[in-house]
Amino acid sequence: MNGPFEFTLRLGDDALIAAQRLAEWTTRAPEMEEDIALANIALDQLGAARLLLTYAGELEGAGRDEDALAFLRDDREFRNCLLVELPNGDFAVTMAKLLFLSAYQLPLYTALAGGADERLVAIGAKARKESAYHLDHASLWVRRLGDGTEESHRRMQAAVDEIWPYTAELFAPDPGAPVDPSTLRPEFERVVTEVLAEATLTRPESGWAPAGGRDGLHTEHLSYLLAEMQVLHRAHPGARW
């Protein structure tokens, strides 16, 4: 049931919505260097999204290109995980989101790069290098904030606690998919546990596990994100840009 189209669409939507959120930081980052770094990561996510959505459109075979998929689907048709659509919050929340996302995307893209689908192999090979950088960047900030000042420690721990429940959805089993996400969990756990320990942060207990993104059941936040992202494209049906 969850064929390659559905799988590719999920990955593409994760990357697209992550890019849209990260790009919101432009001109707002805590340092100029960080403005550039966050834009870089947003550009990587956007680049992966474009490749994945283009390929998803081809797999579907209904003539939808990357823009048709990005701009002309409604909220219930998006397949991204909830984690990426959550608001940016403060810089600690953004870094918690990025840490968990990249610790999931890195083993995912690595597995894709060793898979059977040639297009996904190529996308995975490119994206995993970028994910490795995202993970490095997020890990560095989580350590700095966790082991920085009292205030930054408090904010970073609160951010980890707030975002952690949304990681469960990333690893929901999907045995038929090109990569079964449940197989990525051990590597994710290993990386995240190590970073949190170095950052003098407490790894939250697992409990509440919100989900639904993969079935198009999102948080209230996604609709606003899409309204903004899609407004201009939809105001000029059929126009070329």
Binding site: L16, Q20, A23, E24, T26, T27, R28, A29, P30, E31, M32, E33, E34, D35, I36, A39, N40, A42, L43, L46, G47, A49, R50, L53, E66, D67, A70, F71, D90, F91, R143, R144, L145, D147, G148, T149, E151, S152, R155, E228, M229, V231, L232, H233, H236, G238, A239, R240, W241
Partner: protein, 356 residues
């Protein structure tokens, strides 16, 4: 790296200017290869040596003696240029979230990121003159140093992103290409790098307008409206007319500045007319016409009273731009403090290890 959806016009916009950047780069290398007269003969010779280096079109480097006023003029100019790059991210950043295609979103995000990079190179160039980036950022935040007034106008539609690229980046290049030959080495080198990127920006803005002006009637109207609003503010970017410009003469003598405001403005107008024709857009100046005698276009001057009002703080977005920058700076303070505290802890650990 960026795709082109259509064939380039006969003369690519900014093409001639890019050639000038390359020529300046070659001249810079050549000047570096030519031996300078070793060093000043004595302390009495400092001013003479400085004048000679300028005269010979060599570069003044950070370690060289320079008149205090030369240093101050450069710090002010480079800092205000850096501030302009940073504040200039805001009007275009305003459209990243709503860019109408994923390709345009990627190009715009990369462009705004380039501007942050320009800000950083320029702050670094200013730092070679003995001032810190933090001090300069404070001068911006407390309003004691300015940024280019053009960024106090709002971006009301997507076409404004195109108009800024074509006209504002275009005017910036015309202004900055001569700075690639500025007498101060670090500034000249930063400008070479920046001008190359600005010429991409101008090209991308031109492409946006080209797509719009060859699109639906609503798109074409959007493009024309944007050009109508950005044309005169872009002309004002070259500053007041020559008679009223206060800093020009000394800067010309020091080879910080090489052409007058009016010369550069004329050059910009001449460059835009032909490009507007290819775009199929009208420059909003009924008196724009070729002057055979001058071999240049006659045109209507921008409203310099408006320029003065915007410079003094009463443009449409001055308050908004400054409030945005101050907010980002204030909200980031705890993050910068955490990074400093973390670095201090790591440094202390290292010291302990060495001592042990």
């Amino acid at each position: 790296m960026y795709g082109n959806d259509f064939g380039p016009p006969e003369e690519a916009p900014g093409g001639g200017l890019l050639g000038e950047v390359e020529a300046a780069e070659a001249a810079l290398r050549e000047a570096a290869a030519r031996q300078r007269r070793g060093a000043p003969a004595s302390d009495d010779d400092l001013a003479g040596y400085f004048a000679e280096v300028i005269e010979a079109d060599q570069k003044i480097e950070p370690r060289d003696w320079m008149p205090e006023k030369y240093r101050k003029t450069l710090i002010r100019q480079i800092a205000q240029h850096a501030h302009s790059e940073i504040i200039g991210m805001q009007p275009e950043g305003n459209w990243i979230s709503r860019a109408p295609s994923l390709k345009r979103k990627a190009i715009l995000l990369a462009k705004v990121q380039d501007e942050a990079g320009h800000g950083l190179y320029l702050y670094a160039a200013a730092e070679t003159l003995g001032v810190s980036r933090d001090e300069l950022v404070d001068l911006l935040l407390n309003g004691r140093q300015k940024y280019s007034s053009i960024f106090n106008y709002p971006t009301l539609t997507w076409a404004d992103v195109g108009a800024i690229g074509w006209l504002v980046d275009g005017a910036a290049i015309v202004n900055q290409v001569p700075l690639c030959r500025c007498s101060y080495g670090p500034y000249a080198r930063a400008m070479i790098r920046i001008c190359k990127e600005e010429s991409f920006h101008q090209r991308q803005g031109y492409e946006i307008l080209h797509s719009l002006s060859h699109g639906t009637p609503a798109q074409k109207a959007m493009a024309q409206d944007a050009v109508n609003r950005w044309w005169y503010p872009s002309l004002a970017m070259f500053g007041p007319p020559d008679g009223e410009s206060t800093h020009s003469a000394q800067s010309m003598a020091w080879k910080i500045k090489r052409f007058s405001n009016d010369e550069l403005r004329q050059r910009f107008v001449d460059m835009c007319v032909q490009q507007a024709e290819v775009l199929g857009l009208t420059i909003p100046d009924p008196d724009l016409r070729w002057n055979e005698e001058r071999q240049a276009y006659d045109f209507t001057q921008p409203d310099y009273d408006e320029l003065m009002r915007v410079i003094s703080g009463d443009g449409p977005c001055n308050r908004q731009r400054m409030a945005h920058r101050r907010r980002a700076h204030a909200e980031g303070a705890w993050v910068r403090e955490a990074a400093a505290a973390y670095a201090a802890k790591r440094a202390a650990e290292k010291k302990e290890k060495v001592a042990a």
